[in-house]
């Protein structure tokens, strides 16, 4: 039993360190903390569900914006702007800091109808959301290991 407790403690420590590193590296901001507050014993999958919806959103919006930007002679900047607005909103809601920051630059390129700039931002936002998706999947895996070992998910305070 003592050995199991040590395993749980180790897993909890790994989880905590990993989560803190995601904040420190700028992947996540305070809003992700707010998101975690909304999860409890009754809703243990809430965070995973919401971020999953967010990543689906990213994929869908990036695809449609890509189509709008495709032909240089016929770019629908209004559609792109709408997509960026939605992406900025949802990334902000879940605490996806890097994705949100790219959206800010993206909007600026859109405002001045800079197609090249938009394409660069589109590529960057695609990279960032996929990177975050991988990171969070690792985080959720660590979480699951803790639960399977019979431990509790630590409340991590980010200062």
């Amino acid at each position: 039993l003592h050995a199991m407790n040590t395993v749980v403690a180790q897993l909890q420590r790994r989880f905590q360190d990993y989560l803190v590193s995601l904040y420190q590296q700028g992947f996540l901001d305070n809003q992700f903390t707010e998101l975690r507050k909304l999860q409890d014993e009754g809703t243990p999958d809430f965070v995973a569900e919401v971020v999953s919806l967010f990543f689906d959103d990213c994929s869908k919006l990036i695809n449609s914006m890509s189509r709008s930007l495709e032909r240089p002679e016929n770019v629908d900047f209004k559609q792109v702007d709408s997509g960026v607005h939605q992406l900025k909103g949802s990334s902000s809601s879940v605490g996806a800091r890097r994705v949100k920051n790219v959206c800010i630059s993206f909007k600026e390129c859109c405002d001045v109808q800079n197609r090249e700039g938009c394409l660069r931002c589109l590529q960057q936002v695609d990279y960032e959301y996929k990177m975050l998706k991988t990171k969070l999947q690792d985080l959720f895996n660590l979480e699951q290991q803790i639960v399977q070992a019979g431990g509790a998910i630590p409340q991590v305070n980010i200062n």
Partner: protein
């Protein structure tokens, strides 16, 4: 009419973003509210029982919505500002123009900090303006507004011939005032749902003080 959930507030949340709908739903549940979410202003009106003046065929309209709005008691509407079709502002106007629903407090949420937009919404009767992303702490501002609708409904109940019951009803009406959740500077009388607490939403953005109810003075805020 069953009032078993009398102690729980029912909030109608409107947002076209699925992510944000999930968020606001959970935020409200965590604040002990019953929640109904819809993805558009027109669906919100349908849910309330109001029909749009130029109602068109809506293939997405759920057929299972109740016909009589009296069965549904909504204590607060919280809506996103930027939505395709009917904006949150349009919805606010429709609610405030409706005799049946104008007493329902409306809160606007927006990801954009535009003072002119905020003041326009408050002028139209919105109780609060929340900047997104909305946090749990923001929702504590909602209780006073929802409590007012409860008070109003209880005082509007027909008084019974029995004095004892009448006394009980008066006590029920007085009780909530003793609860500390009502800020001291708020009026508890039966008047339009205006409060000075909405200033807090403004103070987050601009420092202009707004202390007069809108019907007495038209203050232009920039």
């Amino acid at each position: 009419m069953g009032m078993a959930t009398e102690s729980q507030f029912h909030v109608l949340a409107v947002d076209d973003s699925l992510v944000d709908r999930k968020m606001i739903e959970r935020l409200l549940q965590k604040s002990s509210c019953q929640v109904t979410t819809v993805d558009s202003g027109s669906k919100a009106l349908e849910f309330l029982g109001l029909r749009e003046s130029n109602e068109s065929n809506d293939p997405n309209a759920p057929s299972s919505l109740p016909v009589t709005h009296q069965e549904i008691e909504i204590n607060l509407i919280i809506t996103d500002y930027c939505m395709p079709g009917m904006t949150g502002y349009d919805l606010l106007k429709r609610v405030k123009e409706s005799a049946a629903f104008r007493s329902i407090p409306v809160v606007i949420m927006s990801s954009e900090n535009v003072p002119a937009r905020i003041s326009r919404c408050l002028e139209e009767g919105a109780e609060e303006f929340f900047l997104k992303p909305v946090k749990l702490a923001d929702l504590t501002k909602l209780k006073p507004h929802m409590m007012k609708t409860k008070l109003k409904k209880q005082s509007e109940k027909p008084s019974k011939e029995d004095n004892a019951v009448l006394k009980h009803e008066i006590r029920k009406e007085e009780e909530p005032s003793a609860i500390e959740i009502l800020p001291l500077h708020q009026d508890v009388e039966q008047e339009p749902m205006l409060s000075n607490s909405k200033r807090k939403a403004m103070e987050e953005v601009i420092s202009t003080d707004r202390s007069r109810p809108k019907y007495n003075d038209i203050t232009t805020l920039v």
